[in-house]
Assembly symmetry: C2
Homo-oligomer: 559 residues x 2
């Protein structure tokens, strides 16, 4: 196989078009977008108003099987499918998440697709982009400062300093900030208390940003954030502090979706990027809606595998946004399937048909999940250079034997040309099969029942154990009237169960819900099934050590 240049080499060599050409291509008027540099733009929310009678483009969700730590290439397939749909005569728009600087500086070095299926300008997208995440960081930390100042200035709201749940954030991997004590130094410096920092993308404000229908709805959701409790457990909200207006002001420009392009000049809207554990892991609702008004196909993705990202996309985001997804792409890789079949991590590059066969059950479960939501799907085999023809043939035939559409995708190596088969099959099933999308549970069901439904239908669990703490929290949340919100599951992405080492398709297991956290502004309850890392750490050799700027001002070390 020929050598493919690095992502940054491909991105730098790309023939990028002025953003005006991309804006013109999707019919934006001059008043509807603002340039941020020559190759990025923000799209005014007034565009949605102008196009409210325009029929929505067909919404395609890209998800995957349970991933390996390296990921299965969902973003790459999403970008590549968008490019391929354009090659077969459609006006596709790609809708992706914004990368967080934490992982970029830490391990990943970038998150904007890969190979010949990237969004560009990749160095801008991977660094500060249009400043959305910085605006969220600022709003989050301004709220934290308002809370501590409120207590310092007399604590009119009688917030119990031991029960403040609002944490500060940085958009970096910084483990030293996970557990801190603040307000030290004497009576002029604040009130000492235990605290901690999250990474910005784990902030409830990021989740709100991604679920808001418009600026007024964002303001309304910000006002509902619970920041802490009084001694008698009465919740204190942002509205009690009176700062929802200031927080909205800090986010008023960021909330406009960002327009960029792929390597093949396909329009791409990149906006919002919440964690897929403590939050729902999808790009902003406004970006998805905008893309669906501007393209005849919208290709978007959700974090982690179908048991997490797709479940939350469909039960939370699609429900809140009244989205009508038409089809799902389930990305599978030969190496992840082999891992699920019991093959050792170190041996994944070697052909192993028996291991592959044993791992197909993981894919099978996710196919059943998507069917349970009433959606047609295509399986995309995201080919790696180490995959053998026999392995690819095996998976292709397995899919056909199970009545599933399957397409070999080589978008990393060939761009849109490597995704034509996938694109054609997507067009076919969205034309032929009608989707019958419906969420898996009703909001009126109890908190326990909603969690049990997800565990049984999506994870294949026999049942759910609730710890005494979780039971108590469910009682309190129900008493507070929060029980009719959707559930945001926080679970390991590596297994269908809550135990990361249980690969394949675990059977006869229960999951344990240890804790529940209210995200009332975002509009969901987080159910935690294990330790959830909301502030990553840096590795011994961070990607940052390789980063620099060359003499021409170009970025080095992003990939």
């Amino acid at each position: 196989m020929p050598k493919v240049p690095t992502d940054i080499e491909i991105a730098t060599d790309a023939e990028i078009k002025p953003i005006k050409e991309i804006a013109d291509k999707i019919g934006l008027t001059e008043e509807e977008w603002e340039p941020y540099g020559k190759h990025k733009a923000k799209i005014s929310l007034s565009t949605l108003e102008r196009l409210k009678e325009t029929p929505d483009g067909k919404l395609i969700l890209v998800t995957s099987i349970n991933p390996t730590p390296a990921g299965e290439g969902k973003s790459t397939v999403t970008v590549g499918l968008g490019q391929a749909l354009n090659r077969v005569g459609h006006k596709a728009v790609v809708a992706l998440r914004e990368p967080s600087l934490g992982p970029t500086m830490g391990i990943k070095g970038g998150a904007s697709g890969g190979g010949y299926a990237q969004v560009i300008p990749m160095e801008d997208i991977n660094l500060h982009f249009t400043g959305d995440i910085h605006a969220i960081t600022t709003a989050n930390n301004a709220l934290a400062a308002f809370i501590d100042n409120h207590i310092f200035q007399g604590n009119e709201c009688e917030i119990d300093a031991r029960r403040i749940v609002w944490k500060r954030v940085v958009d970096l991997n910084d483990r030293a900030l996970r557990n801190v004590v603040i307000g030290l130094g004497g009576s002029k410096q604040g009130v000492p208390r235990e605290d901690g920092f999250n990474i910005t993308v784990a902030s409830e404000i990021m989740a709100i940003f991604c679920l808001a229908k418009d600026v007024a709805d964002m303001r309304h959701r910000l006002a509902k954030i619970v920041v802490g409790y009084q001694a008698d457990s009465t919740p204190i909200t942002v509205a009690d502090l009176g700062v929802e207006g200031a927080l909205t002001l800090l986010l008023k420009d960021a909330i406009m979706p960002n327009l960029v392009q792929t390597l093949e000049n396909t329009p791409a809207i990149i906006h919002g990027g919440p964690f897929a554990n403590i939050a729902h892991g999808c790009n902003s609702l406004l970006a998805t809606k905008m893309a669906s008004k501007l393209g005849d196909y919208v290709v978007t993705e959700a974090g982690f595998g179908a048991d997490l990202g797709a479940e939350k996309f469909l039960n939370i985001k699609a429900r809140i946004g009244e989205l009508d997804p038409k089809a799902v792409v389930i990305v599978a890789t030969i190496r992840a399937l082999k891992l699920h079949g019991g093959v050792d991590q170190a041996a994944l590059k070697e052909e192993n048909l028996k291991g592959l066969q044993a791992g197909m059950k993981n894919l099978k479960k996710h196919m059943e999940t998507i069917e349970a939501f009433g959606l047609p799907f295509v399986i995309a085999i995201n080919r790696f250079v180490t995959d053998t023809d026999s392995e690819v043939d095996y998976v292709t035939k397995w899919c056909e034997q199970h009545g599933a559409q399957v397409a070999l995708t080589e978008v990393w190596e060939h761009g849109g040309a490597g995704g034509i088969d996938l694109a054609e099959k997507i067009v076919e099933i969205t034309n032929d099969k009608s989707s019958h999308f419906q969420p898996l549970y009703d909001l009126e069901e109890t908190i326990e029942d909603k969690i049990k439904m997800i565990a049984r239908k999506v994870y294949g669990a026999n049942g759910v154990q609730f710890t005494p703490q979780a039971k108590q929290q469910i009682l309190e949340m129900t008493a507070n009237g929060w029980d009719h919100l959707p559930i945001c599951m926080a679970k390991t992405q590596y297994s269908l169960s809550d135990e990361p080492t249980l690969l394949g398709r675990p059977e006869n297991f229960e999951i344990t819900v240890r804790e529940l956290r209210p995200s009332i502004g975002a509009g969901f309850l987080v159910a935690l099934t294990g330790d959830v890392l909301t502030m990553p750490g840096l590795p011994k050799e961070p990607a940052a050590l390789r980063m620099d700027v060359d003499e021409k001002g170009n970025a080095l070390g992003l990939f």
Copy 2:
């Protein structure tokens, strides 16, 4: 006097021109600027290369007498003078600092001039602007994360965790973060240690950003930052950690100066905004140089009064940047002069000629200081609505009797038209009188001698006391080879002395240097004469409580 609308009303009603027109007016080519929205742009540093043979425009520094807590209107006079110079036939460019969000959300509500002498779009400038300060926050905190990670991963550099001097930052007023303990939670979460946060504009990276001559120089200065010490007091730098490239990458776009306009469409370059105590308090050197290549006059300002901002502009920034200032404007207000004459703060709005007379000595000292630097000056009386004609006449005659040029400026009320007299006098003295600018001390002098020179010549002190701690630090800094750097004095802005209540022109006093802090990357040593607040707190009723977004998406509550 007719009612003047609020700043935000004036700014919103202004006839703002597309930034392309402003860029065209100063001769930028299409390749030399990038739009950030319709009314902001970043100017490529390549512009300086193209114009390197172009003669510099005349550089005018705006400073003031020792201010009252409300400030004396330096930014307003700077903007108004730029507008007035354009009205009298020149191509003036204004060069200002970027506002910090901390004071904006806290007390000030904005910092972009006032009345009819403002830079616009004021709401953008006062909120996230083009993201420069967020980039600095991120670079600062990335470095902090790299330091703690280095220690966590084995501490190859043998940094003494008790002697880390690099602090994290937020661009907010947040007193609860002044003194914290981080790294708690057990051996997986880091190494516990005392720490604290500064406001971003007090960061050494902000000072570096404002003194760098180009990207390579910025990278070189970032590498020299001292982050802490080994147990034997050997300094550990960013270069030792190997992350100067990553920090440069995070700042590569921010370092390009920002172009906006005034209410009268005068080009304005707004870039960088370091604190005037722990740092030098001037906008970026690159912005000043850029403005001097693009206009025939450059009007810029320095923080606080002439004893702090102007002294540091002239001894630090002008020296490092090889700037050649041609004249100084000393802004004086009737109310501040009365305060210096012993009038009670509550009675400043009432006519009081005797108090005014007694306060002139503060102005006199600053006139002598500017003369000591070899620079001609004009005194600008920044008129307030409560000033009486008798008071204005008194100051005018006093200046004439003392051989000083004086101009009544009413730019707040009348825009550029209210600054014609000031503009004409500036043109006159920059044509007639030749400036003989030279810094007050040689870099080769000892640390003590440089501080003593500033104290005697600029403050009028008899001498300088050094605490035992300061003496020890001077020994250590000299041993480290840092003694030939300029001095950045951190002193109260309210008095010529280091005692804030000593108004007027104190005599027979000494100042006490308590501590020295190295800013080796920025390229100066900070001498602290009292408590320096590097993290402000919020008031009981923060400005944020009035902020909101209206139905059309406009900002409310900025002023």
